[in-house]
Amino acid sequence: MTTMSTRAKVGVAAASAVLLGAVAAGYAAVAAEPAGSPAPPAAAGVGAVTLEPGPRLLTVTDRHVASVAAADPAGPRTVSNLECLRVYAAAGTGVCLGPENAWSYQVVVLDSALRPRQSVAIPGLPNRARVSASGRMISWTTFVGGDSYTASGFSTRTGILDTRSGTTVTSLEGFAVTRDGKPYRSADVNYWGVTFTADDNVFYATMSTGGKRYLVRGDLAARKVETLKENVECPSLSPDGTRLAFKQAIDADPQRGWRLSVLDLAAMRVTPTAETTSVDDQAAWLDAETLAYTLRQDDGRPDVWAVPADGSGAPRLLVPNAESPSPLT
């Protein structure tokens, strides 16, 4: 190598660059996905998805909002042109976390005909979305990279929008925290997975700090939260307001996965469901007794599953090739 002339070295470097460039270009050409928004799957009917309450189930299929009949969830589905990564609806109001442009995402509030009513730009990548039972309160969680003090870590941002007053809270991180009865503050406080109670003011959510994850009860008007219990993530309040479905980190270690469980709020008693596969989702209550959630196959493809909330029975496949389930109540 040391005997090579400068001209030879430049030649070798140029040849390497051309070769490596060709490898990259060739791979990109093979791997590229067709430009533009992918069309809805041909096998499904394209039609008008509506959020009007009824015996249907809302999901995301191939990044598009779709609905199926509750009585035949694996049967024919109606797929809209609306592109969302996460969707939820209640009382004729929907929320869609979808692309704003090639680089950023937004929260879009939808009316019952899926028409956008309002949108909020959000930092980071879509993760969770919820509408309160009345259709008034919208909440969302996104992942953001690189702003935690571990530099390479991820953190979350959780926001709330009151569609009636127009008030938007872009991050819960400014709320006053009471942990185990004492005032608390820390740079690493993070929130995710909001679920609203019937009064549209008090909510439950997950707060993470110091490597622990807590169930918190929040008061939106008072801008404060208090911790209730450790190791409860992504709570989802039952229609009667007495139980929370949530994901419980196995041995309190998220690296080992999560068990879908139900917390009785009066007795503060936890019942694991019959689903033993790790569930990384904010479950939805299909009715007073049944939970729906997304599971992913080894290659990442999603399916919607259902399991009884009381710990009995067994999980069953509800909607294949779909994610982000929401009953239309």
Binding site: T6, A13, A17, L20, G145, D147, T170, S186, G300
Partner: protein
């Protein structure tokens, strides 16, 4: 993107051709430009992945990325230890280029590893660890090569030019990643393959154009043989080490008993302890000004831009007025940044001032500290010594981040920032006491 990949070698290798660069790049030696080009290309590759990794993990693989930060401290510790081991090996076998090349190659391979790891969280974690290990292993031998390729009185500008080229690559990386994604849609694997190809090109440039020893050494330096690097002649302490023999482990401990080297490493650790971490600085700024969260990433961009623009001018300044004053000035800028975060200034002036001073801090300390260290460390153990300085800083930085987090909890963010400013002032004072006696002759000579 392909244009930039393909055209780079045509524009860059001539710049390291000593025949022509002698006139065009009189600022620094060809070897430094070659190392700068390698760093530039590698940073394009690395920042491509950094920009896309969250998208890939969250939207491509549908993983919950919160699990990734947990073992961060362990990785940092392991990387710090292996960096010192790598530095020692480079000194022992006297092949800094080989060890640096190994580090660059390791990071290149990690890009392909990301593809092969699939949805396995432990595997992805391991691949990220390998990538960081490569980064840790290569930096000390690379900086030792820059030191060896530069006359002592020009070290400031050599590191300035190198760090500027490095940051230009970091700036281009996300743009290249965006260009790839525009071309291929959501096929993130194409970004990783492109990133691998770019990283491999950097290894090729290193192999072809970086020299273990400069071919045109400064006067008095034998061109061949086992003689250590050219700066020895200017480095009285290193003269006695010029005899042959392999570097032994006990010499590393001897290095820490050697007063100037020990003081240097101590100062580096103390300065690291006074640095609380970018995340905290940006978070405090965002909260104080209630900046829209979508603008948050621009804080880092602003800081890097200042760093990029000032690294070379400040390096030149360091050669003129002395490196110690410049490093101390850099930490003074850091202290003022913390004061601003705690203090009464608000609005746009706060944002602009804080980010500018934070960029000045990086420009005045990152490369200049190594330029300051180079001549103090004996040539036989220079790579090990640089690795000790860098690892000491990295570990101290980890500790200070945890301490600042605790301070935030106990006293609130503004007060914690005030305490950090006081800590910077105290460490500055200790650093002056530690380093000023040893450096006075050096700074006098170069000024």
């Amino acid at each position: 993107m392909y244009l930039s990949t393909v055209s780079r070698p045509r524009t860059e290798p001539p710049s390291v051709d000593t025949g022509r660069s002698g006139r065009r790049f009189a600022l620094v030696s060809g070897n430094v430009v070659a190392l700068g080009a390698v760093s530039l290309i590698t940073d394009v590759s690395a920042e491509m992945v950094t920009a896309v990794l969250p998208l890939y993990l969250v939207l491509g693989l549908q993983l919950s990325p919160l699990a990734f930060g947990v073992v961060d401290g362990v990785y940092t510790g392991a990387t710090a230890l292996l960096r010192v081991v790598g530095g020692f090996v480079a000194d022992r076998i006297r092949r800094r280029k080989l060890v640096a090349g190994f580090g660059y190659a390791l990071s290149a391979v990690a890009k392909i590893g990301l593809l092969l790891a699939g949805r396995s969280v432990p595997l992805i974690g391991a691949v990220i660890a390998v990538d960081r290990l490569g980064k840790g292993v290569r930096s000390a031998p690379r900086d030792a090569l820059i030191t060896a390729s530069t006359p002592p009185e020009s070290l400031g500008r050599a590191f300035g030019v190198h760090r500027t080229m490095d940051s230009v690559g970091a700036f281009l990386g996300p743009l290249v990643a965006m260009a790839v994604l525009l071309a291929v849609g959501r096929s993130y694997d194409a970004v990783f393959v492109t990133s691998f190809c770019v990283a491999a090109l950097a290894v090729v440039v290193l192999v072809l154009f970086v020299r273990e020893r400069p071919s045109q050494p400064p006067a008095g330096e034998p061109a061949a043989g086992d003689a250590p690097s050219p700066t020895d002649q200017a480095d009285g302490a290193a003269g006695e080490d010029a005899d042959g023999g392999k570097v032994a482990v006990r010499e590393v401990f001897g290095l820490l008993r050697d007063r100037p080297a020990r003081r240097l490493v101590t100062a580096a650790v103390l300065l690291g302890l006074a640095t609380v971490g970018d995340g905290f600085v940006y978070l405090l700024l965002q909260r104080r000004e209630n900046v829209d969260l979508s603008w948050f990433p621009l804080f880092a961009v602003g800081t890097s831009l200042v760093y990029l623009l000032l690294a070379t001018p400040i390096g030149l300044l360091a050669d003129r007025i002395g490196r110690l004053p410049v490093v101390l000035g850099g930490y003074a800028a850091l202290g003022v940044t913390y004061l601003l975060l705690a203090g009464p200034v608000a609005g746009w002036p706060l944002l602009v001032l804080a980010l500018t001073l934070y960029g000045v801090f990086y420009a005045a300390t990152d490369g200049v500290l190594i330029a300051l260290a180079g001549p103090v460390l004996p040539a036989r153990l220079r790579t090990t010594g640089i690795a000790l300085v860098q690892s000491g800083q990295a570990l101290a930085y980890l500790v200070s981040s945890v301490l600042f987090g605790l301070g935030w909890q106990a006293w609130g963010p503004e007060n914690a920032a005030g305490v950090a400013a006081v800590a910077v002032a105290a460490v500055l004072l200790v650093t002056v006491l530690l380093l000023a006696p040893a450096y006075r002759p050096v700074t006098r000579k170069v000024s």
